[in-house]
């Protein structure tokens, strides 16, 4: 009725806490291991986000050529296909870019999806009364929705102007990819389409207003020197994209282009 090292408490000592430090946990290959954590997923979102930002900006600037007339824009599209020709075969570089972009969107969306699931699980019982947010902005809280709409836009947009499935038949009765200018004008000439473009790009702007700031935090780019400028950069970048992109449907509708 006695022991050498008494440590059995009477009753259940269920609540004793000990040995909690995690032992070496099974690790996957480097990048997968990183992506397995939410912080790692945010790196992925940021990197893919930056890639997409780059594309959207370049794309917008390229499209400005339509103000210089049909020839310019069509030639620009041609130029894209001819990148690095004859070193690389026709369309090659473009295809590489396309694949990269597709990958970026896929990764971005997957990360967004799994983080959203994680966050829902982190608060199974929501607050029963309205929250009074101080910092969280409309932009930051609507990332998922703005993102989804942008995704929908991209799908439709590609089908429309690249594949021509949803585009009205060209002058000679078939969709002619090379007639970029005419395609755009014909497509945006339809007011519902123009409206969709405007809405989608406004949402993209909202997405970027938070996103383009968020990348700095996610990647751990923080320095007293440029921190004050991070939000300004995001706002500016979003504004440029929105103004540029929204101008196109507007211009077509008003007949400035076309």
């Amino acid at each position: 009725m006695s022991v050498a090292a008494p440590d059995r408490p009477s009753g259940a000592a269920a609540r004793a806490v000990t040995g909690t430090a995690r032992g070496p946990r099974r690790r996957r290959a480097f990048l997968l291991d990183l992506y397995a954590t939410s912080v790692g997923k945010k790196y992925a979102m940021a990197v893919t986000g930056i890639a997409m930002m780059g594309f959207v900006l370049a794309h917008m600037v390229g499209n400005l050529k339509m103000y210089l007339g049909a020839a310019e824009l069509d030639h620009y599209a041609e130029f894209l296909r001819m990148l690095a020709y004859p070193l690389a075969p026709k369309d090659a570089v473009l295809w590489i870019a396309r694949v990269a972009l597709l990958g970026a969107v896929a990764l971005h969306v997957h990360a967004a999806w799994s983080l959203t699931v994680l966050n829902r699980r982190a608060r199974p019982v929501r607050y029963q009364t309205a929250r009074d947010y101080e910092e969280a902005s409309l932009a930051s809280r609507s990332m998922r929705w703005s993102g989804v709409v942008v995704l929908a836009f991209i799908v439709w947009h590609v089908a429309d102007l690249t594949l021509g499935v949803t585009n009205t038949i060209g002058a000679d009765g078939t969709f002619v990819k090379e007639e970029v200018y005419d395609n755009v004008v014909r497509s945006l000439g339809r007011w519902p389409v123009a409206l969709f473009y405007v809405v989608a790009n406004l949402l993209l702007g909202l997405h970027l207003r938070h996103g383009a700031w968020s990348i700095f935090q996610s990647l751990g780019w923080s320095s007293p020197r440029f921190n004050p400028w991070r939000r300004a950069f995001a706002g500016g970048f979003a504004a440029v994209i929105v103004v540029g992109n929204v101008s196109f449907p507007v211009a077509v509708t008003l007949g400035i282009v076309g």
């Binding site: 480097f30 990183l34 954590t37 982190a122 910092e135 935090q217």
Partner: protein
């Protein structure tokens, strides 16, 4: 010294972790505006006990804004409407007679409700146990002044170390993320010379322990706004940076072996 004549309180009552909860409405009268929010609840509890009812359970201790025990989601804000102020330091001056005040417990999967307004925040301790320390067994330390620490560095560490572990950041975060708390704890040790040896192991262990229990940070910034010690978002960036380099160093180590 004046009074608030009449306040309506909607307080969350919940018998246990898994039992369903509901709001209970109480009217309190003639509350001194010098009283703190918790002293107002004390008075309500006194009355409840006198009426033979059960007192409302809520966590509190120091009532000086330093122990981090008090909590409460007051009118949709963690620690109530006043910035940089814990619930125990929130005075009734911040309200006016006739107000209806809604009080909820903090809600997060990692912070299960214990009873009424009391939640279990021990998930924070698991994060510290994973690596939130500098290994320095008693007795072996060199003379304190052998490790000079530049004042700005000491101040930066102190800014982060001011965290009282209250959990308002998690409560306020739309994603239920603990990045501000974990970031603060990592920043405190990772900027100091004494903390360099374990810097990357610490970041890795703490982040991954946090990851198993809390949501993810999408940089809403709500945490820092709710933080009674105004811990800046920079600590999150610092944590993300150290975690990244941790993974890379870690990989190199493995390849070397």
């Amino acid at each position: 010294m004046s009074h608030l004549e009449h306040l309506t309180l909607k307080v969350w009552r919940q018998p246990g972790p898994d039992a369903p909860g509901r709001f209970e409405t109480h009217v309190v009268e003639r509350i001194s505006d010098e009283a703190s929010f918790l002293e107002m609840l004390d008075q309500l509890n006194e009355r409840l006990v006198a009426e033979g009812k059960e007192a409302i359970v809520f966590d509190h201790d120091c009532r000086e804004g330093i122990c981090g025990t008090c909590s409460l989601m007051i009118d949709g804000r963690a620690h109530g409407p006043k910035r940089a102020t814990t619930t125990c330091q929130l005075h009734m001056r911040s309200f006016s007679s006739g107000d209806t005040i809604v009080v909820e417990p903090w809600r997060a999967a990692a912070f299960p409700v214990v009873r009424d307004l009391m939640v279990d925040r021990s998930a924070f301790d698991r994060i510290i146990e994973a690596g939130g320390y500098i290994t320095a067994p008693t007795g072996g330390a060199p003379d304190a002044n052998l490790i000079p620490v530049p004042k700005p560095v000491a101040d930066a560490a102190m800014d982060a170390a001011a965290c009282i572990g209250c959990g308002a950041c998690v409560a306020a975060c739309p994603n239920g993320a603990a990045n501000l708390f974990t970031g603060a704890k990592i920043a405190h040790l990772n900027v100091l010379p004494q903390g360099q040896a374990e810097r990357h192991a610490r970041a890795e262990a703490m982040v991954e322990t946090m990851d198993e229990r809390f949501g993810s940070c999408t940089n809403h910034g709500e945490c820092s706004a709710a933080c009674p010690k105004e811990i800046p978002l920079d600590v999150i960036a610092l944590m993300h940076r150290d975690y990244r380099s941790a993974k890379i160093t870690n990989r190199r180590d493995l390849s070397r072996r």
